[in-house]
Symmetry: D2
Subunit: 349 residues, 4 copies
Amino acid sequence: MTTKVAILGACGVIGQRYVQMLNNHPKFEVTALVDVYPGKKYSGVTDWGHGGGFDIDIPDYVRDMKMVSPDDIGSDVSLAFSGLPSKVAGQMEEKLAKKGVVVVTKAGDYRMEADVPLIIPEVNPQHLSLIKEQRKNHGWKGAIVTAPNCSTSTFVVPLKPVYDKVGVKKLTIVTMQAFSGAGYPGVPSLDITDNVIPYIGGEEEKLDIESKKILGDGKKPAEYKINVYCNRVPTLDGHLESVFLETKKKITVDEMKQAMRDFPGTGLYTGPEKPVIVREEKNRPQTRIDRYAGKGPSPYTAGMSVTCGRFRDLGDNEMSFVCLAHNTIRGGAGEAILIGELLEKKGYL
Amino acid sequence: MTTKVAILGACGVIGQRYVQMLNNHPKFEVTALVDVYPGKKYSGVTDWGHGGGFDIDIPDYVRDMKMVSPDDIGSDVSLAFSGLPSKVAGQMEEKLAKKGVVVVTKAGDYRMEADVPLIIPEVNPQHLSLIKEQRKNHGWKGAIVTAPNCSTSTFVVPLKPVYDKVGVKKLTIVTMQAFSGAGYPGVPSLDITDNVIPYIGGEEEKLDIESKKILGDGKKPAEYKINVYCNRVPTLDGHLESVFLETKKKITVDEMKQAMRDFPGTGLYTGPEKPVIVREEKNRPQTRIDRYAGKGPSPYTAGMSVTCGRFRDLGDNEMSFVCLAHNTIRGGAGEAILIGELLEKKGYL
Amino acid sequence: MTTKVAILGACGVIGQRYVQMLNNHPKFEVTALVDVYPGKKYSGVTDWGHGGGFDIDIPDYVRDMKMVSPDDIGSDVSLAFSGLPSKVAGQMEEKLAKKGVVVVTKAGDYRMEADVPLIIPEVNPQHLSLIKEQRKNHGWKGAIVTAPNCSTSTFVVPLKPVYDKVGVKKLTIVTMQAFSGAGYPGVPSLDITDNVIPYIGGEEEKLDIESKKILGDGKKPAEYKINVYCNRVPTLDGHLESVFLETKKKITVDEMKQAMRDFPGTGLYTGPEKPVIVREEKNRPQTRIDRYAGKGPSPYTAGMSVTCGRFRDLGDNEMSFVCLAHNTIRGGAGEAILIGELLEKKGYL
Amino acid sequence: MTTKVAILGACGVIGQRYVQMLNNHPKFEVTALVDVYPGKKYSGVTDWGHGGGFDIDIPDYVRDMKMVSPDDIGSDVSLAFSGLPSKVAGQMEEKLAKKGVVVVTKAGDYRMEADVPLIIPEVNPQHLSLIKEQRKNHGWKGAIVTAPNCSTSTFVVPLKPVYDKVGVKKLTIVTMQAFSGAGYPGVPSLDITDNVIPYIGGEEEKLDIESKKILGDGKKPAEYKINVYCNRVPTLDGHLESVFLETKKKITVDEMKQAMRDFPGTGLYTGPEKPVIVREEKNRPQTRIDRYAGKGPSPYTAGMSVTCGRFRDLGDNEMSFVCLAHNTIRGGAGEAILIGELLEKKGYL
């Protein structure tokens, strides 16, 4: 039996990725599309294709589906994926949670609430248990579950097995982020062509507080020092990050690579077999070449692995590596869907 | 004695070019900046630099100038340069014309009105005489004078000497236009990166009707068949156009080049010595290399010449060439300022 | 039984596309890779990935295959696909043809020879019969069969049904071509970033003479006037072309679209069901969005359709449209493989 | 009296910048151009314009100058600026030094030799005294003086006043470098478009060893730990670097900014008044906007300042900032010319 699913913000960059990645999904059936113009056909209100991806045309299954307002989401819908922008998202998501829907959201509004799980399925699935507390606190039948910001997932996925093995005292991260991370219309071409912008509003704080919540024990955040600079570079998709870390215990480059290679997948439909792909070439990962790494059961699940390379032992328990992930798949719609699959498996729907 | 000048839409892509090009102007003194937030300093309300250009910082002369609302433009201002978007522009420009200001505008609202001059100073300065009729029709002390769309100027400037010599029966033009032509924020980077968009709303009609008005006798538009496709390409500045033309009388490639080379400049401050630069290299003009062609008295007047190349005799009185102009200078602020200088010289202010 | 196949120039942009598109091919088995360093493993000598495409890694089936020199191609190989650059290609291809191999080549050396078929499988499959003449003339057991230049295929595929219906008197074409068309390393980033280069050496002549040979009767080229400007624009893959045509008989926009929509595919494995996709949106085809149009049996056969749009009736039997094709798939490796499949079906191997 | 000057590698990206920046130089007169094709005119052998810059055409003063071979450089030439690629450069430069010419070179061959000065004029002019030792060691009348790699200058210029004030224990640097840094043809467009390449061969070591030599006392290199990742990003010109530093003594953000603002220029012709420009905007420096910072006496000397921003106190004597410099001007031809001016002033010619 399939789970009936709503997509909130279905016309945006993340929303269109949800539509692509849920095409022919074995367990989830999209029955409600929410964005603008309730009553109109999806194909009439969405500007398909700006967000890239493999599908030139709107998938048939949603082409003629009529947009609904959040209030008209059927009571048979038990799961919603949200690509709404922060601030807009909060109220609508709360309303649905109250009504009994479990909302998995990319919006930042509730990520840091104590009783809201902030989940990367491979990293901290156990934090889903916060849902019980959340339901009790609010009297909700549904729930709000959050996925982290794209630039957080990119380094936390490969860091997790190292963190577990030797601990982390300090992180220094410099990101080079694609402009699809800013949504649509997002970054003006006049701003980013032939340019690097060394600032993304609110982004640097997210790598700090989100990673600590995810790597924490569910109650208390993890503790380490973290220095971050975030840069917007002229690429369509894919966030590349330089990571320097000071570990609590010694680890070699080979041990680090092995820990990442051995880091297990979830076994869920949208999850890659290997969450982390370690490459040995000296000039990899590269944004355009590696962003679709991690083939899944269909082309629509490609882009779910993080690719790492350029490992170095810097002495004094300092190590460094470069990592790359597709920001609207691994760091976006794909990760949210993976959370949905985890929720379903764990019986939270 | 200097003419006091207002800039309308001073924060936009064209508005910032006005600010740059009027820096140290020998005859025009900017005394009023109109855009948003009247009462605030220009440096506080403009997002300087997105439009490119030589100046990294806001020129000192406008840095602390307080924005004014159109109603507060002083009565000593006799000339206004407008970079307002079409539709917004009309009402404000009319009001100023009524009040006695001569408004030179890049907005499209009035370009095709019978009593509104549509001027390229090198091509049809005599059309300024329409101002008399306009003043009579509306009872205005000022006037509205329009500059053509950027993609029109690009081919009309080099076409004019050929048109005068051998006439034109038919034009087929394909444009490759920079995204600064769409203003700011304008074209999203997600739309144009690694892409060509074969459509610019309303643009193709403009090349048709505007060129015919400009090349007409002031009463009746010129007559020829014109086929146009406009394309947006991933370049910052500079519109490159492939032009195929059928002439009424025979002309050789050498005669065409010579006619363009001999086409005289205006002798005005912002006007280039040579409005058309003919290049012999087989791979020129190129957008990035040639867009600042036409050095003037200061670096701020570079970019006022149209560069042509790749001339061909196609037989049957068919000729072709490629032309390129800087869309926010020759096809933008520079051309409007040149019109202002012409108005001043001809005593219309 | 499968046909054993060699790839010439297997490390280049086109060569890597051959490798991708022949992965899991139902009839062709790649058994020889020719480029540089005979004796070395393919994975050791190719710089995989610069040419884009879906595969992040070298497909397993060729990873450890040893490069061979042309002289060591086994006698069981009856078909070769060549991505060699023109001039280099000629001698090697002749040698193989002599030896009994049918070489399908993207190189330009022999395209215009009277006894060498220049083939687009949907357009002029009957020209393959020239092979008999070629074999007789040279005493070869194999043959050389050529595929046209990428910018030729792009407009000839959609033109063909119109040509058959109403004839063509004149064509005016302006191309906007991706830099992958220049191979690797090809166009320096310093040349093409933020630029349009209005010239591609030797390209414009190809659209003229190749299209006339293809649309001719196998003996005599088709006759029409053709004016072409070729431009290099900053896109990775995909050639977009503005096409103006004067037909011999009248045709309406609707009839033209219908003729293109009805243009039949080959029924061959790599051939798309619909060689031409007609789009109704006013801003399509777009290079990045539409270049992979034409899904085939696997993701590796996507990109084989030409997408058309922006149709117009210009009066006086003049029509115009915009077309786009993937230059290294439809206009490259894919078309050559399609020719190979046609040769196999028609019994030429 | 002017100094007669030769340019080695005059057709390359750096060589063309030398030609631009020495146009109308008050003390240096270019009398010899060396690259390929001795005997031919410069305008016939250089592919002018690929390297960007303000000049659309070859400056008149070199247009018809005949290329010479290194052996034919006149004995009146006492200074040479070299933009030759490393490895090629060494032998030719030695020969000239022997002959009595002082060669200022961007090539890497001799940078780390104990008796070869590696100079940034604002930072370590006193190291020029190594020339005496060099002349004694080799018996040369001329000398070889080296300028650092572009990515070294970018951070060493702003670091110097901080280094002098509070010392440095550790540096962590991530660069985002333009492709003009790789020369011409340099980086293929297929490699860098829509991509970040996290590796530049040999570059990371240079930031380490060169900065230590420059900040050292002329005999012994400076001592600090340095971690570097170098990235190639899709920008034409301008290297942007994220810099994290641990100082020996405490310094505040305000003190750091002040030290940089107070860092004195050389007073030389090509040197900017302020070697470091500190910006307060949260999203600056930006590559495209700030790369021409540091106006000098003519537009041809713009681009000589390093722009810094985004300063932070990270606690524990850790500070961070972002810096940007034009790699072919400040980090290229401009810095070499500045060294030449210093040599002239100090009487080394």
